[in-house]
Amino acid sequence: MPVGLIRYSPINLGRWLVWGGFALALVIAPLVFSSGSSLSLLSLMGTMMIFSLSYNMLLGQSGMLSFGHAVYSGLGAFFAIHAINLSSSGTLQVPLTLVPLVGGVAGLLFGALFGYVTTQRSGTAFSMISLGIVELVFACSLMFPGFFGGEGGVSGDRVFGRPFFGISFGPQIQVYYLIAFWLFVSAVAMFALAHTPLGRIANAVRDNPERAEFVGYDPQRVRFLMLMLSAFFAGISGGLAAINFEIVSAENVSAARSGAVLLFAFIGGTGIFFGPMLGAIVGVLLTVMLPEFTKAWLLYRDFFHHDGHVRTGRHGQPDRDEPAPGIQGTDAACAACHAAAGRACGHRSDRVRDADRDDVSAVARRGTWHFLEFVRMERRCYVDACLADRDLYAACRRRIFSATTWRVSGCLGGCAGRA
């Protein structure tokens, strides 16, 4: 090219518009849908969008149908919640904004470990082996309660350390923006990955693994690398789920969740990059809104939550007879805490009215989503409101952060009885 000739490289306007529009949508979505449950919905959508995109790296780009992708996101979630707990207690110093990376690295390591075994085969054999691995990990999660927390899972408090410029990540909107940030970064990274030599050769291996071999590439190595990278992003989504829900249980590594992400990816379309993101949005809406429209929500609830997450005791009634053990606070402190929580938490949810706050079973009848929302907000409310009385907080904290919700209601009941 002669020196002095001006090169004209047009900016890829379309690309800037699309990604800019995406970033803009992420920023203004909570301002448009600003109610409490909408924020939680958006946060859940955010984590599932990263999860679906990472799954499509395997399915749409590399041609590997995996039934066990939740292993990597679930194990990432477990490592993230432990990192949160260790940082809360001061053993580690991982800021909350970087906890998803902990999940990502955990996903990457397990992707390397399990991936080496599973990618020895392709096609149907690979799918079946991945199903076996997820069931194996799920079974292990109930066998090692020290790490996996047994049936109740592992809980944590995402508010620890000093607030960073006033951001404590207690309120849901702050968590949403954290998720949105990681979603944008992960989406950009995965899009870029699709346009690298490895990404393109993964497409070639998807189309014709034999021919790829005869142009110099080892298909097994390509699949292994793609699985590791996909597991990294799945781990990030798991870490964000741990932050969002503050609890991780065996359900995070279940085959049901793997099936859900498979469904989301197919709903949205595996052929285009943004497809699985749309599928995640639609899929989350379906799983959450379904109870609004059908009285058979119990059936679907048990399909999606087959673990101690939502346990309301026998006959669906919270177990009010057993007093919340271990409450040490004084009557006055209990009353003050309860009153403060009542003020703080009264307006939190526009779906859960004050009158029902103490009648947990009534809330439960409204639907799984509202119930989980209620429980989560109650926990957060009580944590925020009861910080004044350290003894009560310490005593209630064990119960508040316990997975089974009847214990939460027991704590509420225990306090309510004395208010």
Binding site: P197, G199, R200, A204, D207, R211, F214, V215, G216, D218
Partner: protein, 255 residues
């Protein structure tokens, strides 16, 4: 005498109790163009599969530029400078023509399993792919999905993928299978163009293609090479006439 580009020494291949290749000896000099002909079921494709690494020989040696390649994986053999095409079109059917060719050059340019290079920034890869695309005459089909090409275009793409990597030894397995006369003539031109300076081993049934391209012809019958000589000598070889042409050889003029 220089090292043969490809040297087969007493190669045998057995599938169970059936011995398909029964002691093949063949030495191909660098830059030579050799066509392998023979009746159906003689073991020509099996021979290609043995050389390119799809199967490992039961016994015998295969040497590429003096290096043992018997028993290596196909990807390893390809990296050493041997590339093959397939009788049944084997392309990346969901990628575009340009992407097909770019995938074929990536390893040879040293990018390996890189996920830190932006594809659009790889100028050399793009230029080599475009050059091969022009030489196989598919420049006007650059962004067409490969699975939607016509049959002859797919065969041309197949050849393009084979030569794009810059391998020195090219194996073409029936490149003109299923083509009409005019398409075959174009394919012969293409093969002559893209294999300039390279060693070519070609399985073919079409005699006009064979006589148009080959320096030497090897005749394989029942897993053995019964003759390996110039086209004229092969035409006059009585054994070949009997075994392959059935003893009723019509006088053929080279195309």
């Amino acid at each position: 005498m220089s090292t043969p580009a490809l040297d087969l020494k007493n190669v045998r291949k057995q599938f169970g109790s059936a011995e398909i290749i029964r002691g093949v000896n063949l030495a191909i000099q660098p830059g030579e163009r050799v066509a392998i002909i023979g009746p159906n079921g003689a073991g020509k494709s099996t021979l290609f599969n043995l050389i390119s690494g799809r199967f490992a020989p039961s016994s015998g040696e295969i040497l590429l530029n003096g290096r043992q390649i018997a028993g290596l994986a196909p990807s390893q053999i390809n990296r050493l400078g041997l590339s093959r095409s397939f009788q049944i079109t084997n392309i990346f059917h969901r990628l575009s023509v340009f992407e097909n060719l770019r995938c074929a050059v990536l390893w040879s340019l040293g990018y390996r399993y890189s996920f830190w290079h932006r594809l659009s920034a790889l100028k050399v890869a793009r230029e080599v792919a475009e050059q091969v695309m022009e030489s196989i005459g598919l420049g006007w089909r650059r962004d067409t999905t490969a699975g939607l090409l016509t049959y002859a275009e797919q065969r041309a793409l197949e050849i393009g993928i084979t030569v794009a990597g810059g391998a020195d030894v090219i194996l073409l397995d029936e490149p003109t299978a299923g083509m009409s006369r005019s398409e075959s003539d174009k394919a012969v031109e293409l093969i002559r163009e893209v294999t300039v300076g390279k060693t070519l081993l070609m399985v073919e049934h079409d005699m006009s293609v064979v006589f148009g391209v080959a320096d030497r012809i090897a005749v394989v019958v029942y897993g053995e090479v019964i003759a390996c000589d110039t086209p004229e000598a092969i035409r006059d070889n009585a054994r070949v006439q009997e075994a392959y042409l059935g003893g009723h050889a019509p006088a053929q003029e080279p195309a």
